[in-house]
């Protein structure tokens, strides 16, 4: 009788029972590839698609790329602030480990040594290592990613990292050329280009130019050979295909119901008034009498409703100084003294605009900058113009013609309802716009500043920290500081190393700090590429 109660199944051995059957023991390369793609993106409003394998994190306040680029800034301290109190930056090592797993799974599945996953694996390595180095300086690379075999990897110099990343990009291009020529090669799990390797090849080379331009202070370094590498790519379009139009953009397209644009009707009530535009961004637009301001921003209602300025007057668009004390800024914002982000363009739908990671417009400014700097021959102005026009087109602004500006009517109660917007026809005339002295390309140092200013405007809400990096190496556009930016009125120059380095890789971490930053993990320290 007692025995009958013993219902324990003895079918499985004890060893069988140790297994966790709730999770997979392997997944194909295509799934790993999709995971990596989602890890690589930087989305507006500090959103990640997937910051790590375990979560989709939105509104992570530790990622304030857009704030640090002084585009669309916080006015409400409860939700965030504009301080340059950098902590550790993005950590992509686990993602690079996934890249390695992807390559291994592709090989296991019978792919040859050179296959689409391995070719893009080289690109991903370059992409992730270079991004981490741009944030911090020296980083572990050659001894990294060996798991138990090297638990305390030494740091490679930033220079070595950059050289290696450029080599990976070179090899990725070579492999892709081979694979494309052979034909029949494709990728699964590609949410960006649906497996089109030719588009990926353009991304690889465009990214290589971005990386080279970020080394603009290191042109004298013979090992890097920045200028000649740049020239080599630009002058060999057959070997190094580059993006030809915005259709080649590497961009994240938002989709309902799973992947909403970070600003959407659902969170308008919470967020709609907690950020306002920055003077750094809106100031440039109004200075240039730039029609983009009517698409990306709205006039300051105080100026329109109380001071009776025209809603389409550039003087009605005012951004806040990022250095301002938040209490003062929040009061001013409440009194409607600032321009807010355009509600129609950014808040009225769930999909907003695609978030460009590496884009055609940026490429044009990179080419213009390279030519301006004398790294390669060409017409800087035509690239400059192409960059501006690509940006304007992305907002639906015709070169010459008219479009409608939508400004949310005060006191309205539904951001999705177009009837709640006042509409204004805006006429544009490219010739007039471009004829402005501030806009018309002049070449030389001024021309460089113009290129960088227009690049800054084109990257509004796009490409993560790119505009911060441009500022960091060029000082363009002028970033402002004050109590609101904290850090002793300085724009921080780098991110800290992850806290785990301090505890688990102490010796190498300390050595890296000593050789670079006087022994202190100092966000105001100057890394090698900026010297």
């Amino acid at each position: 009788m007692l025995m009958l109660l013993t219902v324990s199944s003895c079918k499985k051995s004890l060893q069988d029972l140790t297994q966790n059957n709730n999770v997979p023991n392997s997944v194909p390369a295509s799934l790993l590839f999709n995971g990596i793609l989602n890890n690589m993106v930087d989305l507006p409003d500090g959103a990640y698609a997937s910051s790590n394998q375990s979560s989709v994190v939105y509104q992570n306040t530790s990622n304030r790329a857009e704030i640090w680029c002084q585009y669309y800034i916080y006015n409400y301290n409860y939700y965030g602030n504009n301080t340059y109190d950098f902590d550790s930056g993005a950590d992509y090592y686990t993602t690079i480990k996934n890249v390695m797993a992807m390559e291994a799974q592709a090989t296991l599945a019978g792919s040859p040594a050179v296959n689409p996953y391995s070719a893009l694996g080289k690109f991903f390595r370059a992409y992730f290592f270079s991004r981490m180095s741009l944030e911090r300086g020296d980083i572990p690379m050659t001894q990294a990613l060996q798991g138990l075999n090297a638990l305390t990897p030494v740091y490679d110099s930033q220079k070595a990292v950059m050289i290696q990343c450029l080599t990976w990009l070179e090899n990725a291009n070579t492999d892709l050329t081979t694979l494309i020529a052979a034909g029949g090669n494709t990728l699964s799990g590609d949410q960006f280009f649906n497996g089109d390797l030719t588009k990926w090849q353009k991304v690889v080379n465009t990214y290589k130019l971005r990386l080279l331009i970020q080394l603009s202070k290191k042109t004298s370094d013979a090992d890097l050979n920045v200028a000649s590498q740049f020239n080599n790519i630009v002058s060999n379009p057959a070997k190094y295909p580059l993006m030809q139009s915005t259709a080649d953009n590497l961009q994240y397209v938002f989709v309902a119901p799973n992947n909403f644009y970070p600003m959407n009707p659902n969170n308008f009530g919470q967020n709609g008034s907690r950020q306002n535009t920055s003077a750094t961004y809106v100031g440039l637009l109004t200075q240039f009498q730039d029609p983009r301001v009517f698409v990306t921003a709205e006039p300051a209602r105080d100026l329109v409703d109380n001071q009776h300025q025209s809603p389409t007057s550039f003087s009605s668009f005012v951004g806040a100084d990022p250095g301002l004390d938040l209490g003062v800024m929040y009061n001013n914002a409440g009194l409607l003294k600032y321009s807010f982000i355009n509600r129609k363009y950014y808040y009225s739908t769930y999909v907003g605009e695609p978030s460009i990671q590496i884009g055609y417009a940026e490429l044009q400014f990179i080419l213009a900058e390279g030519i301006n700097r004398g790294w390669t021959a060409g017409d800087a102005e035509s690239h400059y113009v192409a960059g501006i026009q690509a940006s304007m087109q992305s907002y639906g602004i015709p070169a010459t013609g008219s479009f409608t500006a939508y400004f949310y009517r005060p006191g309205s109660s539904d951001v999705t309802n177009l009837a709640n917007y006042d509409t204004y026809p805006i006429t544009t005339n490219w010739a007039n716009y471009y004829a402005q002295p501030l806009v018309k390309y002049t070449g030389g140092a001024t021309g460089l500043t113009q290129i960088l200013q227009q690049k800054y405007l084109a990257l509004f809400r796009h490409s993560g920290l790119e505009s911060y990096y441009t500022y960091r190496r060029t000082g363009v556009p002028n970033f402002t500081t004050g109590p609101g930016t904290d850090n002793g009125q300085r724009i921080a120059l780098r991110f800290k190393y992850p806290a785990s380095e301090r505890v688990a890789n102490t010796k190498n971490y300390n050595a890296a700090l000593t050789s670079q930053y006087g022994g202190n993990d100092d966000i105001n320290g100057t890394m090698w590429i900026l010297k």
Binding site: M100, A144, Q146, L148, S273, L336, D414, P483, E501, A504
Partner: protein
């Protein structure tokens, strides 16, 4: 596996053979029962026929039978009791009452596997509490009654319905409950207090070593009532009625300023977004209540224009007005029937609890059956079955967020709306019933009636546990027991999320329905052989050998709609987008063998040892491990002549070395979840919350956690496509089980004929090498390495003082129990190669050091402000104190005069700090009374008066200095030390700031929310009266008593600022941040006990 079965079969066969009737011969068969003075049966009592070798010992019910002739004398002996002699007469049934030998004080306690031992022979610390003591002044949760009753045992009671208390022993969460000898997966609500005879707390691992790994943090042994020793039928009735009224800890709210931002508010549609509207997701930093005209949520709309209406504090005390008097009833009827060969007990209990939060309630029903019968003199069968049902359609979720009434009523909305207004009470907007709720805001906050009566959560849990056992007495030295126990629950939790509810992650306002289902089946088959040999006069050997087979299975699923098509239809078929679901399955088997030996050397000492071997599937690979324990006890007063005033002195010491596999005591709703649609957590954890809001319910589990199994994982980060990820974990090769070594030393001393007793224990634990998920350099490609590393050492002391200042002064008596305990835990050995652990900790540091954000100060200690007059915050967290208490204490007093008794208990905790979350949120949000008082309040009023005036930049001037020479402070990245103090010059701060900005920044720094954890409570006061037997004479009632009691009566805390949180819940945890809690209430109850 097979082996064990063969073993069991053999033993079973032997048992069956032995059932054959045992022939009796000779004289007359007589029988009887031996009890103590409290009529409790005494098992194991020796009954000998004087002058012969005939004799026996009493069984578990205190019964004996033997043959003796009339005129012979029975000698009845039991350690700790005065021997008695009974002359055999004509009757065949004898009732023998043994009186306690107060000189040779002796208690019998239940120890591991239900073995009863005399305390004098025990070498480790235990404390026993009578179940009856906890039902007279009962708490809705039976375990909460143990607060303050046991030194070293700490119970963090929560004020929530279904809130499981955090039970810790010496700082570790106790996860092992044992009922009648076998482990039980308890959520503490599934125990029926009326069926519990005693609670015995085994404090250290030595005491519990026979239970193996689950006992590493001690155990609570529960012995259920087994029926009465009195022959015939007894009916016991116990009934309690309790009301909950009056708050101990309550948010401190201001009613001077309403909601809004920067002293401004106007209602547009309650959906916000439009700057200048400030009508949603707002703070309580709005306009002063001066009766001025402002458009509000209920202002009339005339010709499409919302009219302005007077701005008044019409909702002052909304929270208090919303809460009502709570009510609770408990009823139990127990029926016992005892005959010659059997005892049965049937018990039915019912508990109904109406929360002081409207609409919310809990029902618990419990049925318990116990039966035993003696098939023969040597063979006894026992069985017990318990069924427990917890059920509610509506219980609260207090987790910070739009789901919480505290969030909605105390933190984020102001006094501009009234909880008594008919439109609020109506819940729905006219004509939009079921679709759109009525409130003054529609983005983040909720109407409290909507929250508590429409947005509902259901909890339905059935627990069934029971056992069958057979005990066979082989001879007077040996008996064998085979016991088979099952313990199973099934749980259903539901959530009906109505249209227009918008918790975090579900801002679409289109409702949801969710189910969380869990099934657990746990089976133990236990075989023990007990032995007891007196080898020589001075040496007695007793103990047991045994084996246990545990089989465990667990299944769960979590399923949710992704918005609803039709409002109010809570069914999966009504899901708008595809259903989101996850499931989990686990199984475990454990085969254990164990043995114990107690060697008593006459009156000098008892040496005890246990060993347990375990073979478990809950590890990376099948793992074998064993743990020994040893203890020694010596009653010095037995063999050394001590001064007269010392009546008893015992010393004891013990050692245990416990190992453990990779199991988890509890489990959450969606282990290894990959659901990302709701903004919740995913990944390799048993505790994932698929939702972005709310508390998850952790139910008892004690199964594998699979932490040591590497695997890939998947998620759907984009457009429903599956993405894969490789593991982020590394494993040291040949990883071993966790080790805990425990040493314990103590003494028990009694003075003045046991009028005063003191039990003191010192203990040391060395935890480790642990199975440590150690943070490694991410540049390895991995985040965590599991390895055997890290040792911590815990040392502590417990003192328990019992006294009887007045024993019997013409009917008056007074008893006192004082418990005191302390411990601290330090890092003894860091992982190899590391000089720091967890960023800041070094070898020798307390593990509960608390690092948090702190202000930057100059060398004189003044706060340094930035150029806007607001305090600078150090970029590196600073040491703010330790989280654990210095010590905890309790004093229990009982005075009685004849039939009238009164008892009361104070208890509390001293030392330690934590951060007050309610304070933090209410100050930052502007609702805390502090923001409307003193300098802050005055400046806040100025901010309102001067709103919108050009050039006005606030009135509040923060304390401290500013840097006057425009030099930026530089900080050491490791310590946060200011590196360039000498370059900084200071001037007094004169910058004005807006109060909202200043308070929100200043009180976001941990340092300004830091609260002491020193507090005390008047836990309970009870008046009881036992009706004199003579009054009951002639009625069918044999016993009657009544008690009137109050629980949770007074809360003593020094700083009124932080009296918004009742520390009970956090006293025993190292939490660095308190949570939201429902206000804690006083309880007043009446209890009646009757026996027939």
């Amino acid at each position: 596996m097979k082996q064990i079965y063969n073993h069991l079969r053999t033993v079973f066969a032997v048992l069956l053979l032995c059932i054959a009737p045992v022939l009796l011969f000779g004289q007359t068969k007589i029988g009887g029962i031996v009890t103590d003075e409290n009529k409790q049966p005494l098992p194991g009592v020796s009954v000998m026929v004087k002058g012969t070798s005939t004799g026996t010992t009493t069984d578990i019910n205190g019964r004996f039978t033997l043959s003796a002739a009339s005129g012979q004398v029975l000698t009845v002996k039991f350690l700790g009791y005065l021997p008695q002699q009974v002359t055999v007469g004509n009757q065949t049934d004898y009732s023998i009452v043994l009186a306690e030998d107060t000189k040779n004080l002796n208690e019998v306690v239940v120890t591991a596997l239900g073995v009863k031992k005399e305390t004098r022979r025990i070498g480790y610390a235990t404390q026993t509490v009578n179940g009856a003591d906890l039902v007279t002044a009962r708490d809705p949760n039976p375990i909460n009654g143990l607060i303050g009753k046991v030194a070293g045992l700490s119970i963090g009671a929560t004020s929530e319905i279904l809130g499981v208390p955090n039970i810790t022993m010496r700082g570790n969460t106790v996860s092992l409950f044992v009922i009648d000898g076998l482990p039980f997966n308890s959520d503490t609500f599934d125990l029926s207090p009326d069926d519990i005879d005693t609670y015995t707390v085994l404090k250290g691992p030595a005491a519990a070593a026979l239970y193996g790994s689950r006992a590493q943090y001690g155990a609570i042994l529960i012995t259920t009532k087994k029926g009465s020793s009195k022959k015939g039928i007894t009916i016991d009735v116990n009934s309690s009625t309790v009301i909950n009224k009056g708050f101990l800890a309550f948010p401190r709210i201001q009613n001077s300023f309403g909601p809004g931002e920067n002293t401004f508010y106007t209602f547009v549609d309650g959906k916000g977004g439009a700057p200048g509207g400030v009508d949603s997701d707002y703070d309580v930093w709005g306009p002063y209540f001066a009766g001025q005209l402002i458009p509000q949520y209920d202002s009339p709309v005339i010709n499409g224009v919302r009219q302005a209406t007077p701005w008044t504090a019409r909702g002052a005390n909304n929270l208090a007005n919303f809460l009502k008097t709570g009510f609770q009833t408990n009823n139990n009827i127990a029926l016992t029937s005892t005959g010659e060969n059997y005892t049965t007990r049937f018990s039915v209990s019912q508990q109904h609890q109406n929360s002081y939060i409207p609409s919310q309630y809990l029902d618990i029903a419990n049925a318990n059956i116990y039966a035993s019968f003696n098939a023969s003199k040597r063979l006894k069968f026992e069985g017990s079955l318990d069924f427990n049902r917890q059920s509610t359609d509506d219980f609260p979720d207090v987790q910070y967020g739009p789901n919480s009434i505290i969030y909605n009523m105390a933190i984020w909305t102001g006094a501009d709306w009234s909880v008594n207004a008919p439109d609020i009470k109506a819940i729905w907007q006219p004509g939009k019933v079921g679709v759109q709720s009525e409130f003054e805001e529609y983005t983040r906050y909720h109407n409290p009636y909507f929250l508590t009566s429409v947005w509902t959560r259901g909890h339905y849990k059935n627990d069934t546990y029971g056992y069958l056992s057979g005990n066979f007495i082989i001879d007077k030295h040996l008996n064998v027991t085979l016991k088979n126990q099952i313990d199973t629950y099934n749980l259903l939790r539901t959530e009906d999320l109505p249209y227009s509810a918008h918790p975090y992650g579900r801002e679409g306002n289109q409702g949801d329905y969710r189910e969380d289902r869990r099934d657990l089946f746990d089976n133990n088959t236990l075989l023990t052989l007990n032995y007891d040999y007196t080898v020589a006069k001075f040496l007695n050997l007793s103990g047991l050998v045994g084996a246990n087979l545990r089989s465990f299975k667990y299944n769960s699923s979590w399923v949710s709609t992704d918005y609803l098509n039709v409002p109010g239809v809570y069914a999966f078929s009504n899901s708008k987008n595809p259903i989101e679901a996850t499931s989990f399955y686990s199984a475990e088997r454990q085969i254990s063998e164990f043995a114990s030996l107690d060697a008593s050397f006459g009156k000098y000492a008892t040496l005890s040892g246990t060993i347990r071997n375990e073979r478990s599937s809950a590890f990376q690979n099948v793992t074998n491990y064993s743990y020994p324990s040893a203890a020694v006890a010596s009653v010095i007063s037995d063999y050394v002549k001590l001064p007269e005033f010392i009546s008893f002195l015992k010393v004891r010491a013990s050692y245990a070395n416990i190992k453990s596999d990779e199991t988890s005591p509890t489990i959450g709703p969606a282990p290894f979840s990959t659901i990302t649609a709701f903004g919740g957590s995913t990944g390799a954890s048993l505790y994932d919350n698929p939702l972005g809001y709310g508390t998850t319910y952790d139910s008892p589990y004690n199964g594998p956690n699979y932490a040591l199994n590497t695997s890939f994982s998947t998620a759907k980060p984009y457009a429903g496509q599956t993405a894969g990820y490789a593991s982020d974990y590394l494993y040291q090769s040949a990883i071993k089980t966790f080790t805990r070594v425990n040493y314990e030393e103590g003494f028990d001393i009694k003075f003045l004929q046991n009028r005063l007793g003191l039990a003191a224990t010192a203990f040391q634990y060395i935890d480790g090498p642990q199975i440590l998920p150690n943070t490694i350099s991410t540049s390895t490609g991995y985040i965590t390495e599991y390895l055997n590393a890290l040792k911590t050492k815990k040392t502590g002391y417990e003192v328990s003082l019992t006294g009887t200042p007045i024993k019997d002064l013409s009917g008056f008596g007074w008893d006192v129990l004082v418990n005191w305990s302390t411990y601290k835990d330090v890092y003894e050995e860091l992982p190899p190669g590391q000089t720091t652990y967890n960023t800041f900790f070094q070898k020798g540091d307390r593990v509960d050091k608390f690092y948090g954000t702190a202000f930057v100060r100059n060398q004189q200690g003044q706060i340094i402000n930035g150029s806007n007059g607001e305090a600078l915050v150090n970029p590196v967290p600073q040491y703010l104190g330790h989280l654990g208490a210095d010590y905890t204490w309790s004093i229990f007093n009982r005075v009685h005069y004849k039939n009238l008794g009164m008892s009361f208990q104070f208890d509390g905790s001293v030392g330690g700090v934590t951060a007050d979350y309610v304070f933090n949120k209410t100050v930052r949000g502007g609702s805390n009374a502090l923001t409307a008082e003193g300098a802050l309040g005055a400046a806040r009023y100025q901010d309102w008066l001067n709103f919108g005036k050009a050039g006005y930049a606030g009135s509040y001037v923060g304390q401290g200095v500013v840097i006057s020479n425009n030099v930026a402070p530089n900080f050491d990245s490791k310590t946060g030390a200011v590196l360039n103090y000498s370059a900084l010059q200071y001037a007094p701060n004169t910058h004005t700031a807006f109060v909202q900005e200043y308070a929100s920044e200043y009180y976001n720094v941990t340092e300004s929310n830091l609260m002491s954890k020193t507090y005390a409570k008047l836990r309970e006061v009870t008046f009881d009266y036992t009706f004199p037997a003579k009054w009951l004479k002639g009625t069918f009632i044999t016993k009657a008593s009544a008690s009137l009691y109050g629980r949770n009566l007074l809360y003593f805390y020094k700083d009124p600022k932080f009296k918004d949180v009742d520390l009970d819940q956090y006293a025993n945890s190292n939490t660095s941040l308190t949570g939201l809690q429902s206000p804690t209430v006083r309880s007043y109850g009446l209890n009646i006990k009757l026996s027939f």
